[in-house]
Symmetry: C2
Subunit: 480 residues, 2 copies
């Protein structure tokens, strides 16, 4: 196991330096590479394959709900961006501006899309005329640019990949239902596919998307107790459609402004996977999005028939629809074990002469190195069951971390003391709803993120700040 040790040692332990641990993983597992363009990164094949799996699963889900994919230009004219005042105020400070085409100065400068509400609205104003044209349920998979000061791979980069859904509806009720539906689509995806528990909630008014009536969001809790926003879904009312002149004729032949939503998730989900599931040996990938779900490692591979048996098993698993790799390279078994642990492959299968004799192989899970001897007969089903078990164990461990780090507090003093004693986590506290108290809580305790859970639960009836009557529970946290 000397080789194993050597490999694992290259990753800084999480408890020693969490930020360094994270950076080590994204580099050494070959997810990204830096470039000469500050704040932008190369997503390498192993990282991009995770994103492709996320895309494939979400895209099929969106389509099954009636959404259609489109492609909008990557540029927005300054005058178009300026049409909705809250929106431009929110985004203008962080957009990249194109001022020249070739050697010529442009008459009007163009921003590289930070998000595409303005373009979708312009398009809707061209194609929506009658109630018969509604709803339009659109989505696009693109990259967007926001000129961030401080960047970190996947979590905050100047360019990132995402999908943005944009829908337009006859009534406010339909649009609100769509906003909520898509939040639950994301939540189910996070929990069932990524094995990542999330709090489903609503942002406070001070924290909404620029131009939204309401912003719903998912908050996940990372290994270090910090919160990460995993996806958002916005309800716009008819604010954008009024600003952009989107109108339709209803069944009574009256002109009306339709109601809109948008919703998105990004490559930051890969950062969330790393910080929810990873450990000091490297990545731990949810089976559904792992580029390689099973690695087959021949043991004593110089002995006759071993590589053939490993390959035959791998072929059978591939034929059963699994993503499988066989490593029959000259590297030591110890090196291979460490390498695929670092890469987060959910299941390792070892097969050597003695296993073959017994018509068996040994499966080892990534999360807890649990060993199971499997018969080669029906190995396909057994492997699928182990992967499903792995997903369940990953979710349970992440949920346990979230629950353990969720603290109920009654006063701002208690919040400060809890954060000081226990470190970061979710603080649950009652809030009267006033922006002043919200601001004061942030200032007094240093928390940055707030989220009102959907469930409507309560842990008291007095505001944690002013002590007045409070109906609203808030989750506070320090956010990525």
């Amino acid at each position: 196991m000397a080789d194993d040790k050597k490999m694992v040692d290259q990753i800084t332990p999480m408890d020693e330096d969490f930020a360094k641990w994270y950076t080590d993983i994204v580099k050494k597992a070959e997810l990204i590479e830096y470039t000469s363009v500050k704040g932008c990164m190369v997503i390498r094949p192993y990282g991009y394959a995770i994103w492709e799996n996320i895309q494939r699963i979400l895209d099929a889900e969106f389509k099954s709900l009636g959404h259609e994919n489109v492609y909008m230009p990557m540029f927005i004219t300054e005058s178009l961006l300026n049409k909705e005042k809250d929106h431009v105020a929110g985004f203008a400070p962080e957009v990249a501006w194109v001022t020249h085409g070739g050697s010529e100065k442009l008459e009007e400068r163009l921003c590289v899309r930070p998000t595409s509400e303005t373009l979708f609205c312009e398009h809707f104003s061209n194609i929506v005329h009658s109630y018969r044209d509604l709803p339009k349920l659109y989505n696009q998979w693109v990259s967007v640019v926001r000129w961030e000061k401080t960047t970190r791979p996947f979590l905050r980069t100047r360019e990132f990949l995402w999908q943005e859904g944009h829908t337009v509806h006859e009534t406010a009720e339909e649009a609100v239902a769509e906003t909520e539906r898509m939040l639950h689509v994301y939540a189910d995806f996070c929990e069932n596919v990524l094995a990542m528990p999330v709090v489903r909630g609503r942002k406070t008014d001070s924290d909404k998307f620029a131009g939204a009536v309401a912003t719903y969001a998912l908050e996940a809790l990372m290994h270090d107790g910090k919160a990460l926003q995993a996806a958002t879904s916005h309800y716009f009312g008819d604010g954008f459609s009024r600003a952009f002149g989107v109108e339709y004729t209803d069944k009574e032949n009256k002109k009306r402004h339709p109601f809109q939503t948008s919703w998105g998730c990004t490559t930051r989900l890969i950062g969330a996977i790393i910080m929810t599931h990873g450990d000091d040996n490297g990545l731990v990938l949810p089976p559904a999005v792992a580029p390689v779900q099973v690695v087959v490692i021949p043991v004593a591979q110089h002995k006759p028939g071993v590589i053939e048996a490993a390959t035959a098993l791998a072929d059978r698993l591939s034929a059963a629809g699994l993503r499988v790799k066989t490593d029959a390279s000259e590297n030591s078994a110890g090196w291979k074990f460490a390498e695929y642990e670092m890469k987060g492959v959910p299941l390792r299968i070892e097969i050597g002469p003695r296993d073959i004799e017994q018509n068996a192989c040994v499966a080892v899970t990534r999360l807890d190195r649990k060993k199971t001897v499997l018969s080669l007969d029906g190995a396909e089903d057994a492997v699928k069951a182990l992967l499903e078990e792995e997903r369940g164990a990953m979710f349970a461990r992440a949920k346990e971390n979230m629950d353990r780090r969720t603290y109920d507090c009654r006063t701002t003093e208690e919040i400060k003391a809890t954060l000081a004693e226990k470190g970061d986590g979710f603080i649950r506290a009652m809030w009267c709803g006033s922006p002043e108290c919200e601001k004061k809580i942030k200032e007094l305790t240093g928390v940055s993120s707030r989220c009102i859970p959907f469930e409507g639960e309560k842990i008291g009836d007095r505001c944690v700040c002013c002590g007045e009557h409070a109906d609203t529970l808030l989750y506070f946290g320090n956010a990525y």
Copy 2:
């Protein structure tokens, strides 16, 4: 058929005004919509679905050949772009420049990628060290920007979608083989999937990609006799790797510069599909990429059991893996026929009370409105066979058009006379290989595109221009 007429009349006949015919189709078949960003367009769901089908088929083919997908930044620093002199000379005049991030002026301006050789080279210089790291076979699906003066939907837009493959190899031989392999991948895709015959060839030196040693290209011939470049594949030698400092240690422990290729195809393929197969009734889509392959239209749908029978048939065809739509709307049958003809749906199935009685339905092909009565038993296989037949008929018709418009010429006078008499087409002529003759032929005859076919055939041994000895056959044409 009054409704039918009305619908079809909206499209300008091809012979009256080919450019207007083209624009009518892209708009009325709802492939694109214009935007306030000059030269950029919205690709609407029906257009984007064609691109998704192209992507899906090509992506699977690339992956089966060992290529991996990655994502590079959309920005290139000016200094990085400047590293290879031919490359920057070719692209700098047509790039969009980002000069500001938020309200701050950037220290160094960034161009929006017109193509990503420079970024891939920088990345290769970071990750390629030993012969063991080679080859790298990468691809990405992204959008790129070129600041064109005159734009037309799909054919020439300031932003367009494409894939760009970038590979790096130990030897020149391997890189040349990859360049040729990928050209044939594209050619087979064009011919077998898009039913579009192409000439496989090589560009003359004056017409190569900026920075390439050799550029291979596919030339297709449109309905109006103009040539369209459908895909390109470039061999770079070690020019880029020298300019960007990409080095590897070979088996003898010597430092060497590796050899590179790149290859790409774009959303312009959708323009090629329109102008190769379309007619005065609208689009004609190759079955493999048609968003809807079969439309089922209930006839006399108010009669009991008709809609049920249509839906049942559609469900069976969907279950067999076909993309099927049933239109049981209140619109007239005539309107529906015209609508789906305009949208290029390869096969229409009509099913009414009499058909149901006879356990049958009527299939009508888009290309030539050929009617076939199909038994409902085994309809799945019969429909698949008709779609395959349709593909064959589309290819044959396009090939016939290409052959009919290909002219062999012995003198520049003959070229001029042929173009004047017959209109645009492929002119085949022998060429001595001198850039002077190439230039003179262009000037004298007005042709814009040149391509040396792979096959190495000849139609004589004297240069069409200077009359000296000539070994090279050239295809000339007027290009989109």
